[in-house]
């Protein structure tokens, strides 16, 4: 079996208060078992306090597990942490790292030196990535003059510029506008998809982001992994009937539609202002759509639009946890 990019076995982490009067111990991770293959863009989805950042800190050698084991690129994070560190990097959302008096390019160069990247190689990579992220015009600006979005783009570049095998991204688009988020997401997808076995472990509480980017997703809450699968398979866990909304030209004979096999909750309304009839119904199975369409056409009406509502990761999360994100 190929070495996994990340593997955890019964991984637990308990935080004890400094003094007894400060409260009880907190179990941030509770027997977490995960296996992330090389080349995966893996998502860890959970609300605040679910244990996502704790897991990332253990995997990035900043925190020791209380019990269990974690391996990154085959190396034990507790014992072989120097080997792990050579192969990883991490970027967190809302990070304010670096020095304000340095320029963007100088800051990125400085961090690249901590990974032993040759100066020229680092500078070429930085120029190329600043171009990709639309930051070329900012390269000689002091970091303290950057906006939040520009600063986060710089942080993301910091993570990629050392060319790690495995990159941990802790809510990298937190608080960013649509454009900045889109640029970052596109870069992540391209980086993983370039066929060099690069792996990304992404934590997020943006469901759409996880759905859009990740090959597989683990849902975590209260330090426990509740489910782990592809977004499509996770959605199948929710046995939710598919709701259809069909707009057709004014239809007089609608009675037959409700009696088609597999159709339930059939309702209709005539929209006088548009001369359309809106049909709403629930199907147990998509195959009944053709019967509906045939019946509409037989009545002499024409289909104008059709909408289908499917389960989302949010529905999956609500099913698993019993509540949505705050």
């Amino acid at each position: 079996m190929q070495t996994a990019a990340v593997e955890t076995k019964a991984l637990s982490r308990v935080f004890n208060p400094k003094k007894k009067k400060e409260g009880k111990s907190v179990t941030a991770l509770d027997s977490v078992n995960l296996r992330i293959e090389k080349g995966e863009l893996f998502g860890l989805l959970g609300p605040n306090g679910a244990g996502k950042t704790t897991l990332l800190k253990i995997l990035s050698t900043l925190l020791l597990p209380t019990s269990g084991h974690a391996y990154v690129a085959g190396h034990d994070v507790a014992k072989d942490f120097q080997d792990v560190r050579r192969k990883i990097n991490m970027v967190s959302g809302g990070e304010i790292s670096g020095y304000g008096l340095l320029t963007v390019k100088e800051n990125l160069w400085m961090f690249s030196q901590f990974y032993g990247i040759k100066s020229k190689v680092a500078k070429d990579r930085i120029d190329q990535m600043l171009e990709t992220f639309g930051m070329s015009d900012k390269k000689d600006e002091k970091v303290r003059t950057l906006s939040t979005g520009q600063r986060q783009k710089m942080n993301v570049i910091r993570g990629f510029v050392t060319d790690p095998e495995i990159l941990f991204l802790d809510e990298p688009t937190l608080g960013l506008d649509v454009n900045a988020s889109r640029v970052i997401r596109e870069y992540i997808v391209n980086w993983v998809g370039n066929g060099t076995d690069k792996t990304v472990l992404l934590t997020t509480h943006y469901m759409a982001e996880a759905d859009q980017l990740c090959n597989r997703i683990a849902i975590i809450n209260g330090g426990k992994i509740l489910a782990c699968d592809t977004p499509e398979n996770l959605k199948k866990l929710v046995k939710m009937n598919k709701t259809f909304s069909l707009d057709v030209t004014l239809m007089n004979d609608k009675g037959a539609l409700g009696s088609i096999k597999g159709v339930s909750n059939f309702t209709f309304s005539d929209l006088a202002e548009t001369n359309l009839t809106r049909l709403k119904f629930v199907l147990e199975d998509d195959s009944a759509v053709s019967d509906i369409v045939s019946e509409v056409l037989r009545s002499g009406s024409k289909i104008v639009s059709l909408q289908k509502t499917e389960p989302t990761l949010e529905d999956v999360f609500i099913k698993m946890v019993g509540k949505g994100f705050e």
Binding site: L62, L63, Q82, G98, Y99
Partner: protein, 273 residues
């Protein structure tokens, strides 16, 4: 990343030294705060010695001591408290996650700090010489260089050790730095030869490398004033060499202890904890 461990760490030292070196160019306000202001204290002592009609070398001692204060302040505020600052601004966890020795990060800070502070100290010395007209009779420049290097290595080694301790103490670090400023000026004899504190006090103060370093530097600039020397220069150099090794080892172990404690408790690398 195929380069050797040594090359990687040398690059890390260069990388971390860079902000300090470039900082001196980008924030010229230090010219006033770090050169002109310390000269006021030097001036006060110099005039006291002049009015007391003390031997002329005493004004030279004060100027040399005033120049060396730059290094002590750099140790306290830019070495010892630096990891604490790095934690506050979010850099510490990036340093700890990097595949390099923690000593390289601190060595980078030390190299950058040393570069910057040597300019400051040199400026203070030059202005002091011009303003007070002191004469420096350097007989053995090579020995001066060796003593200065030994003093700086042991001093910055002590700063590296303090860096871990300050991180453990958190906000109390400010008080520690304040606590160690003026008392060390006195104990290490920044404005007078340390010999006049008495042998036991001078011996106790010798654990701070700048005490012996400053005494040796004064002896090298004023070789005739043997009555003001605490110990022979060669003895002081030997002790400084021992302190270099001791502080570097202590720094390495205290950094490892700090890192392990941080990884165990999770309290040292997170900004808000």
């Amino acid at each position: 990343m195929t380069d050797s461990w040594l090359v990687r760490n040398l690059r890390a030292i260069r990388g971390r030294a860079y902000p300090r070196i470039i900082g001196s160019k980008r924030e010229p306000s230090w010219l006033f705060f770090d050169i002109v202001l310390p000269l006021l204290t030097v001036s006060a002592y110099a005039y006291v010695y002049k009015f007391m009609t003390a031997r002329p070398e005493f004004v030279g001692y004060v100027v040399l001591g005033g120049a060396m204060t730059a290094f002590w302040l750099n140790i306290l505020w830019a070495m010892a408290s630096q990891l604490y600052w790095e934690k506050e601004i979010g850099n510490l966890q990036l340093y700890l996650m990097a595949p390099i020795s923690r000593m390289s990060i601190l060595a980078g800070m030390a190299v950058g700090g040393l570069f910057f502070t040597t300019i400051r100290a040199g400026s203070t010395l030059a202005i002091g010489v011009l303003v007070f007209g002191i004469t420096l009779n350097l007989a053995d420049p090579l020995m001066l260089v060796v003593v200065f290097i030994a003093t700086m290595i042991s001093l910055y080694g002590m700063g590296m050790m303090f860096a871990s301790l300050y991180l453990l103490f958190g906000r109390e670090a400010y008080h520690m730095s304040n606590l160690m400023t003026e008392p060390v000026y006195l104990a290490s004899g920044f404005y007078f030869p340390v010999k006049y504190l008495g042998p036991w006090a001078a011996a106790g103060a010798s654990f701070i490398p700048i005490t012996l370093g400053l005494d040796a530097i004064r002896q090298l600039f004023y070789p005739a004033a043997t009555q003001d020397a605490f110990l022979p220069v060669t003895t002081e150099l030997a002790i400084l060499s021992v302190l270099c090794v001791v502080f570097m080892i202590l720094a390495k172990y205290s950094l490892a202890f700090m890192e392990n404690l941080g990884k165990s408790t999770g309290r040292l690398t997170l900004r808000w904890q």
